[in-house]
Amino acid sequence: MWTWFYKLASPPHVYGVAAAFTPWFLGLAAIALGYGVVDGLAFAPADYQQGDAFRIIYVHVPSAWMSEFVYTTMAIAGAIALIWRIKLGHAVAAACAPIGASFTVLALVTGSLWGRPMWGTYWAWDPRLTSELILLFLYVGVMSLRSAFEDAARGDRAAALLSIVGVVNVPIIHFSVVWWNSLHQGATVAKFGKPSMDLSMLWPLLSMFLGFMLFFGAVLCMRLQAEVLNRERQAKWVREAMHS
């Protein structure tokens, strides 16, 4: 069994696998997203309360979930690289950061756009959006720390540690923001709870989730190849990979 794990750690193998998987991820993502968007916009019934505004859920909820998922993936990859000194973990973590940050931005903007019809303003310090904003600051912190070092290996390790510290703090931040929000606004404000989801609304959401995950896989594979190349420039296999 270990040969599989050991091969996973060898850069040339991963470079090949990442290059091979990218088109598959892209294709499947296109299918899932296509179905999700069409079904979500055209066929799913409008919500009795929010009318068509609820369709924003098909972008906001997957991207919000992905922003958390990608940050956790980055932290786990960083932890593996820091503890077992597998250089590949740093490459995965470095590849994850910008993707996660872009999903966070998407979640933030769609969240505030969704808030407009709900609360009458674009930003009402809703606890979930506030924690999403702080998550964006954490992403920016990790990315700027990684690029602040001339020596890439040290930047990788520092960013890995910061993402581990960050992932430990994300639930604490979320809890304290919810506590703070309930303290000041109380439950009177029409917080938009999850709209009641009957089946026909749920399918597009699940396929959008799948589409987002597959898309993340595709972009991760592309960025991973670049990160592996940046870290393995001297290795002999780079020469063959270049000529192929």
Partner: protein
Amino acid sequence: MKTATQGLCVEEVHVWCGDRHVLKGVSLDLDVGELLHVSGPNGAGKTTLLRVVSGLLRPEQGAVSWFGRSISSVRGEYQAQLAYASHEPALKGDLTALENLRFAVGLKRRVTAAELGSSLERTGVAACADLPARVLSAGQRRRVAMARVLAMRASLWLLDEPFTNLDAAGSDLMTALLLAHVHEGGCALVVAHHDLTLGCTMRRLELAA
């Protein structure tokens, strides 16, 4: 793996700094009572080698062992027995020479002010024991750093360019201290880009650029 049960043993150490392959498979061994002169052009990795041997820098490949035991397993105990004098004499400008010694040596072993005073005397800077380190000249600072190495009573001395900023008397003093240390069974690894005439059997390791 050649296990030298006596003293220091470094095997096939490789270190990369960014893209530069700084140490290419360096190996050396240093028995008790021996002195090794590490020389080489600038950028050959002399200081990096010292940092690896001292346990500050973990090499990507290769191992360093002290009396047969890898230093990563006995890091605290090993570092308590070594004295590392880096290229710059690491002194706090605001603290006096005596205080610098007290705080540095006090972490390794209980030491009295009298003992520290005598170390400063032996390196000829007893007069500036109570002067803040920032007012001392470079030579005096180097002598205070030398006094610190003496006061630590370390078995292994790792000296990075110990002869810089020293006048003739200082160099002779440094040579005498090195000989005394080696004579009593200590071992020393001295980095110097010029050749040393210490008047004792001394092995030499040349690092390529």
